[in-house]
C-alpha cells in the first residue's frame, strides 16, 4: 500500500522543471494564433447569420453531432461588430498566451474563445487540430505555463524575483497532456484496425488521390506501386500504435517521438490538412524532460550557438537535484 502511494505520488506529484510545458505553451499558442488568423478573413461566412450556417442550423447540427450543455454560446446570433470584437480579443489572448504574458488569464480567454468558435460552427471547427487546441489550452491553464520561455519570466528575472533557474511545478498537468497524446494515437489506431482498407494495406492511397486533399506530389504513391502503398499504410499504423504504447518506455521515447514527427511531416507534405501535423508535433513537447532541453543546449553549444546566460530561459533545477515532492499549491506553483 505504501509502495502504491509512493508510485502514485511519483506519477502525479513529482516536481519537474517548467521548461517542457513552457515549450508546449509556446508551440500550441503560436498555432492557435495561426488558426485564428486563418479564420479571420472568413469570420462572417462561418459565424454570422448571413453566412453559411445560421445559429438555428448550428444548434440542430450540434444536437445531431454532439448533444450536450455548452460553456459559452457567445457567437450565437452575434452581429458583425460582435464577431469582429470577439476575434480581436481572441487573437490578442492567443498572442499573450504565445509570448507568456498574463499567461493564465490569456489561456483562459483562449480556451473560452475556442469553445465559442467550436459551439457556433461545429461543422468546420471539429477536425483533429481544433480538438487538440481546445484540449491543450485547458491543460495549459492547469499547468504553470509561464514558468519558462515567457516574457513573464524575463520580467521576474529583471525584478530579481527569479535567478537563472526556472521555477518548478507539479507534474500532473503535464502527465495529463502525455496521456492525452497516447489516447489520441491508441484510439485512432484501434478505430483504423476495424477498416478493411487499413487491413488490406491500401488505406493511405485513397485520401492522397482525393484532389481536394492533395498538396505536393509523392512519386512512389501511385497505383503501379503497391509495395510503397502497403508500406506507407502499415508504417502509419505501426507509428500510431507506438505513439500510444511504446512512448511510455523511457529508452524508446525519443525514437517514437521522432517517428511521429516524420509521420506528421510526411502527411503535411502530401496532404492539405492545415496545422494538424504541427499541432500534434507541438503536443510531443510534453514528453520532453529538462535533461532533453539541457542536451539540446549542449548540442547548440557544439554548433557554437550559445544562449545568453543572464536570460537562460531553458535552465532549471532538474528533478534529479530536487526532492521528489515538495509543498506546492494546487495549480502547480512552488511554495
Amino acid at each position: 500500500m505504501k509502495n502504491l502511494q509512493r508510485d502514485w505520488n511519483d506519477l502525479w506529484f513529482k516536481t519537474v522543471s517548467t521548461g517542457p510545458v513552457g515549450l508546449v505553451r509556446l508551440a500550441i499558442g503560436l498555432l492557435i494564433l495561426c488558426g485564428g488568423l486563418q479564420l479571420w478573413p472568413d469570420r462572417f461566412a462561418w459565424f454570422s447569420e448571413h453566412g453559411t450556417l445560421t445559429t438555428a442550423d448550428a444548434i440542430l447540427y450540434n444536437q445531431a453531432y454532439t448533444n450536450g450543455p455548452r460553456v459559452i454560446t457567445f457567437l450565437y446570433n452575434a452581429g458583425d461588430g460582435a464577431i469582429t470584437a470577439f476575434f480581436v480579443v481572441y487573437l490578442l489572448a492567443a498572442f499573450l498566451m504565445t509570448i507568456g504574458l498574463w499567461t493564465r488569464p490569456a489561456i483562459f480567454f483562449v480556451w473560452l474563445g475556442l469553445n465559442a468558435i467550436h459551439n457556433r460552427n461545429m461543422v468546420v471547427n471539429t477536425n483533429g487540430g481544433d480538438q487538440i487546441m481546445l484540449i491543450f489550452s485547458a491543460y495549459l491553464f492547469m499547468a504553470r505555463s509561464d514558468g519558462a520561455f515567457s516574457v513573464s519570466r524575463l520580467l521576474r528575472i529583471r525584478a530579481g524575483k527569479e535567478d537563472v533557474n526556472a521555477p518548478t511545478m507539479l507534474i500532473w498537468p503535464q502527465r495529463l497532456m502525455q496521456i492525452q497524446v497516447a489516447v489520441v494515437y491508441l484510439s485512432t489506431f484501434l478505430n483504423k484496425t476495424n477498416g478493411d482498407l487499413w487491413q488490406h494495406g491500401t488505406a493511405v492511397y485513397y485520401p492522397y488521390m482525393v484532389k481536394e486533399f492533395h498538396r505536393f506530389p509523392v512519386p512512389g504513391l501511385n497505383s503501379h506501386n503497391m509495395t510503397f502503398i502497403e508500406f506507407s499504410t502499415y508504417a502509419t499504423l505501426a507509428v500510431e500504435l507506438a505513439l500510444g504504447t511504446l512512448i511510455w518506455v523511457p529508452r524508446l521515447r525519443l525514437y517514437v517521438l521522432l517517428a511521429g514527427v516524420m509521420l506528421h511531416l510526411g502527411i503535411e507534405y502530401a496532404m492539405n490538412i492545415p496545422l494538424f501535423g504541427f499541432l500534434m508535433i507541438g503536443t510531443y513537447l510534453s514528453f520532453l524532460r529538462q535533461s532533453d532541453l539541457d542536451n539540446f543546449k549542449a548540442w547548440l553549444k557544439r554548433l557554437k550557438i550559445t544562449l545568453p546566460s543572464a536570460v537562460d530561459l531553458v535552465k532549471s533545477k532538474t528533478d534529479a537535484t530536487e526532492p521528489k515532492s515538495i509543498a506546492v499549491d494546487v495549480v502547480g506553483g512552488r511554495r
Binding site: V123, V124, I135, L176, N191, G195, E212, S223, I229
Partner: protein, 195 residues
C-alpha cells in the same frame, strides 16, 4: 543564535501542519479530478462503455461537452475518405440568365490559399449530405448573396448540384470512375434573403 520562544515554536508547528493539511487536500482533489477525467475520456472514446453504463455516459457527456474535452479520433478511420466532392450553385437571375458558381474548391487554389481556406472543403463535405438537409436553404441563400452582383437583376432561385468522384482501387487495370453530377435541391430566393 537566539533560541525560539515557546510561542514561536507553536507558530512554526502550526504553519507546518497547515501546509501539510493543505497539501493533503490539494493532492486528494487532484487525484479525484484526474481519476474522473481519465475515466470520462476512456468512456467517451470507447462508445461500447457508454452504452454499457448509460447513467455514467450521461454524466460524462455533460462534463466533456461543457468543458470542451469531448473528442473523437476517427480521422481516416475506420476507412479513409475516398470521395472528391464539390458543390456547384446555378444562380437564376430575374432576367432569366444563369450563372454558375462553385463553393470554394481547394483544387482551384494555390498552395497558400488552399492552406488558409481548407475549412470550405470540410463545409462542403458535410453540408451536402442528406442527413444535414436543414442546412441546404442557408447554403443556397449564401450563394445568392455572394452572387448578387448585377444592379436591378437579383437572384431568384439557386439550384444546388453535387459533383462526386469516388477514387478507384489502386489497381492499374481498375476502371476509372466517372464524375457523377446530380441536383440535390433548389432554393427560392426572396429580397429579404439578399440582405
Amino acid at each position: 543564535m537566539a533560541l525560539r520562544t515557546e510561542q514561536e515554536r507553536i507558530e512554526v508547528r502550526y504553519r507546518r501542519n497547515l501546509r501539510m493539511t493543505r497539501r493533503y487536500w490539494a493532492r486528494l482533489g487532484v487525484t479525484l479530478f484526474v481519476c474522473w477525467h481519465l475515466l470520462a475520456i476512456a468512456i467517451w472514446t470507447m462508445p461500447q462503455l457508454s452504452t454499457q453504463y448509460p447513467i455514467l455516459g450521461g454524466w460524462v457527456r455533460t462534463y466533456l461537452t461543457t468543458t470542451g474535452f469531448n473528442q473523437g479520433w476517427t480521422m481516416f478511420a475506420p476507412n479513409p475518405y475516398a470521395t472528391d466532392v464539390y458543390v456547384e450553385c446555378r444562380i437564376h437571375y430575374a432576367d432569366g440568365t444563369i450563372r454558375s458558381w462553385n463553393y470554394p474548391r481547394m483544387y482551384d487554389f494555390d498552395y497558400w490559399t488552399r492552406y488558409q481556406k481548407e475549412r470550405w472543403r470540410k463545409y462542403v463535405e458535410v453540408a451536402n449530405l442528406d442527413q444535414y438537409k436543414f442546412m441546404w436553404p442557408t447554403m443556397g441563400r449564401y450563394a445568392a448573396r455572394v452572387n448578387n452582383i448585377y444592379p436591378n437583376n437579383p437572384p431568384t432561385t439557386v439550384d444546388m448540384l453535387t459533383h462526386k468522384h469516388i477514387v478507384p482501387a489502386p489497381d492499374p487495370d481498375a476502371p476509372k470512375n466517372p464524375w457523377q453530377t446530380f441536383q440535390y435541391t433548389s432554393v427560392p430566393i426572396t429580397a429579404e434573403d439578399l440582405k
